[in-house]
Symmetry: C2
Subunit: 333 residues, 2 copies
Amino acid sequence: MKKLINRPEDLVREELEGMALAHPELLRVNLEPAYVVRRDAPVAGKVALVSGGGSGHEPMHAGFVGPGMLDAACPGAVFTSPTPDQIVEATKAVSSGKGVLHIVKNYTGDVLNFEMAADLARGEGIEVEAVIIADDVAVKDSLYTAGRRGVGATVVAEKVAGAAAAEKRTLSEVAAVCRKVQAQGRSMGMALTSCTVPHVGKPTFDLPAEEMEIGIGIHGEPGRSRMKLKSAAEITGILAAAILDDLPFRRGDEVLAFVNGMGGTPLIELYVVFRELSRICEGRGVRIARSLVGSYVTSLEMAGCSLTLVRLDEELARLWDAPVKTAGLRWGT
Amino acid sequence: MKKLINRPEDLVREELEGMALAHPELLRVNLEPAYVVRRDAPVAGKVALVSGGGSGHEPMHAGFVGPGMLDAACPGAVFTSPTPDQIVEATKAVSSGKGVLHIVKNYTGDVLNFEMAADLARGEGIEVEAVIIADDVAVKDSLYTAGRRGVGATVVAEKVAGAAAAEKRTLSEVAAVCRKVQAQGRSMGMALTSCTVPHVGKPTFDLPAEEMEIGIGIHGEPGRSRMKLKSAAEITGILAAAILDDLPFRRGDEVLAFVNGMGGTPLIELYVVFRELSRICEGRGVRIARSLVGSYVTSLEMAGCSLTLVRLDEELARLWDAPVKTAGLRWGT
């Protein structure tokens, strides 16, 4: 296992301490229980956004904490749901009395723990709504999930809901924007290599030198199929067809296209994939009006990529363009 | 070889086409010869900045083209210097009559080809100055270099020189800012794994499962030493000591600290390294006043990292903070 780490049991704490040291103008980190809040939390008069999930997917979610996006992130152990006490304490730390939105990726542990935390927070008088993101078209159910898994659309949901909250919209309005991304977003991923969970010390799965896994989950959970390695054009074609057919996206739609790296894939390859995706969308009459290319929802050092398309309307495009200032996404401020 | 590519010979062209499709609001791409310019080039009344080098180091340099940073980037083939005609044509495309600064990483081919291009551009009446970046303390000379190699300080030099140019300062003033970064910046890197050059098809070097290479170059050229894998704390200690002793950085200095991923290393590990670097600097009385953590100077899918420290003064800090809008770095606009 070749990693730039110290003891596996210290990894998440040390990473959070590193984030606090690197971004003191943006973030504050609490360690017991572990959560990250924007430096100026709670922000008066604003709905607060809280997300979280297992670590190993950086910059998601702590890298999306800051003005225009999340108020708090709750990182669990690597590939492990955050505990209810993390989520409750984060919720209390960012609540300004205008309500708190929980943005939850659809994994069984995450959903249960966010539900429990929401109940506890409500018991303390905080209004909480939750939106479950379940955008991965690869499989109906999977190892850690009843229903579809939550992947790339989460980044878009957190960005646009964060912008809606920054406009001082109500909790139900912010939740509605978030649900619209969930309704109009679809994703699918693939892996060229496995990742290695630090405290396990060996690859999560074996993938022969000439094979890839289509429909991989972000914890290395199985996808749709193993097959011989193909070209970027063919791989993008397989992923894009599954996504485009599912909503379905239609001729004349405008979309946000997000090509995501899994952690071990260099940017040069992601742009090759974006080129293929762009050609495919053009062929279907779907116009890419906004784009994001980079490694934002990772699986440790896994090599591979995922594609996300979100159908845009005027509101979503405007909220996507709004200023954001986080460690992972930053523009316009 | 597991990569998201089509034919190796098409990789750079397809990547550039992907960049143009993903960032139409920022960039224009010319393919024959290959260069990338900011969309609104040439910008009247402003010194223009041109950089370039082999591909495979993305987002450097094309990802740094845009307002507040580079006017043009010239990508060579993978790990291969750009040709003089690329550089001349890019120089002409961005020249507004106020002079052009070439920012050149110190590799033999790059330096020769930029020199030849500068002579040709001068022959067409364009004033050109060049600054050579040679910040890598690992080795005195190396496979592709007489003198030190140019690595992470290049990103800082391009950012602050770009900000100086945006302030409409003269060519000699912009060059002076760039030289200050070169004079006050030091870097060193290490690799956990090799990368594979697509048209070669096998790893550039062999690195056993329990070993790492300290002082690696960004083309996989040899560093200072092979040794058994160590902890993040020990690795950071080795790199930081070499950097801190070299300038030397002194108690009371303020620095920009840049922890760079080599392409295959996930962000979670880079923050662990940043934490270690921060502790080491604190122990030396060196204050980290600005930071950058991410994969900005990559070596395809190599796993590993490099550290860069640049001693700051008020001018460099202000120029670093100035607005920038590129595919790879973006804030404040």
